[in-house]
Amino acid sequence: MAESISSKYGHYHVEEQRMEKILTQEINEHETERIVRNRGEYLDWMNSHFAYKTVLAPEKYK
């Protein structure tokens, strides 16, 4: 469990020193935004193509 929350370019991010097994790479802000946007688009696409309803979290978790 991380003791603190770290973010980079406005998104949650694992601190590089914690990446011991797999090395991090050089990723700039636009590339990060591209990944985040592609993820949103892909999830929207999945919902619009394959989901017949959206299951919401129970009230107690909101």
């Binding site: 790479q25 050089e26 990723i27 636009h30 985040v36 592609n38 993820r39 696409w45």
Partner: protein, 404 residues
């Protein structure tokens, strides 16, 4: 400043070879893809869809290098499998390591870079990808043009009276300048019609990606010369007419040197002109069409909206196209760099599959925004006798705006 999508793994700098050990960092990196086993990369790969050969998937390439690290193979055994990649980017985009966790862990799957590296290292040790001779001849042609073509490089613009300097520069690569000359001509005419003052380089240098796969140093040297020439010409904005070059200016060159001007793809630029009211579409263009997203715009640079906006703005076009996410696993079959020359039969099959998808929506024409897609689909249509005719989006803009 324009968007630059930089994602670079320095661990790729260490060369692979039959007599070289795979560095531990690269082994671990490849293990991250091998350990996934969802194989979403396989299912979106246009080559896998045709050939059902898993060794050409992102999983296959990473697993092969992991195998080499474990002593179960050597690089030269990849001479055949290294052919099996279009470098379209579908696998690295769809990889869960990128799509779901890439921004979080700061580590993504970069299969295009890896395949370039494999091909480059194979060539360096004298065991090039099978059929590389055809690619080498193609590269030699462009290098010869750089030395000997002289004014022929600008013949596409000979009656357009374009200056060789300006704050806005239209960059035209050798493929457009020699093979699809209508594309830069139409681009120039549209910009003139909209009242944009712009110039074009008197002598651009080669940008072909095939050279990037064989001689990175020379390819970067030419890239630097292009950037320096554009800067010396006074460029603040550079409009690109070939999306392969757009990827190089937006994703590849910035990994190695600074780009001191804004880089815009032609469809994005024309759409901004339309939004500013500098160009109007007064003519109807009556046709039933669908649209093919170039891999380089859709999968690599997030530039899929402008072509669709332009098509929607032209009245008369009956338009039905798959959305851009569905098109992540489509490709014209040309590939970003060497694929068409390495595996021409598979290239044809991938292209034919895309034309057949256009036939399914009963389109008459397949609109494209890339000169390589145009070239590839024209060839596939001629060979196959398909009823689908490719048309470049700039042709439609010309008709709609009433430009001769």
């Amino acid at each position: 400043m324009s968007k630059q999508f930089i994602s670079k793994k320095s661990i790729y700098d260490a060369p692979l070879g039959d007599d070289k050990a795979v560095v531990p960092e690269l082994r671990r990196d490849c293990y991250a893809v091998f350990a996934c086993r969802h194989k979403f990369c396989r299912d979106v790969c246009p080559v896998f869809i045709e050939e059902r050969d898993e060794s050409g998937s992102s999983y296959g390439f990473h697993a092969a290098i992991l195998g080499m690290a474990e002593g179960n193979g050597v690089l030269s055994e990849m001479a055949d499998t290294s052919q099996l990649c279009l470098e379209c980017g579908a696998c690295q985009l769809r990889c869960p390591n990128t799509l779901y966790t890439g921004d979080f862990y700061g580590q993504t799957t970069t299969t295009i870079d890896l395949v370039r590296k494999i091909r480059r290292d194979l060539i360096a040790q004298g065991t090039p990808p099978t059929n590389w001779d055809d690619v080498a001849r193609y590269i030699a042609e462009d290098l010869d043009r750089e030395k000997n073509a002289g004014d022929a490089i600008c013949r596409w613009a000979e009656d357009l009276n374009l200056p060789t300097s300006g704050e806005t520069m239209l960059f035209v690569d050798y493929f457009n300048a020699f093979q699809t000359t209508d594309v830069p001509r139409n681009a120039a005419k549209i910009l003139k019609h909209a009242g944009v003052g712009f110039g074009t380089l008197g002598k651009p240098f080669p940008t072909l990606g095939e050279l990037y796969e064989s001689d990175q140093e020379l390819w970067l040297a030419f890239g630097k010369k292009n950037v320096e020439s554009l800067q010396a010409a006074g460029a603040k904005t550079v409009i690109i007419t070939n999306p392969h070059d757009y990827v190089f200016f937006a994703n590849e060159y910035p990994k190695y040197f600074e780009i001191p001007f804004e880089v815009v793809y032609i469809t994005d630029y024309i759409w901004s002109l339309y939004e500013q009211g500098k160009i109007q579409f007064e003519n109807e263009v009556n046709l039933k069409a669908t649209y093919h997203d170039p891999c380089t715009l859709n999968k690599q640079t997030l530039s899929w909206e402008a072509p669709r906006n332009l098509i929607a703005a032209i009245s008369g076009i009956s338009f039905q196209a798959d959305d851009h996410v569905t098109q992540w696993d489509y490709c014209c079959g040309n590939g970003l760099n060497s694929f068409k020359r390495l595996l021409p039969d598979v290239s044809y099959k991938v292209g034919l599959k895309r034309l057949s998808l256009a036939e399914e929506v009963e389109a008459e024409k397949l609109i494209v925004a890339c000169p390589h897609c145009l070239d590839q689909f024209t060839e596939v249509q001629t060979k196959s006798g398909s009823s689908i005719e490719p048309v470049h989006i700039l042709d439609l803009v010309m008709q709609a705006a009433g430009i001769d």
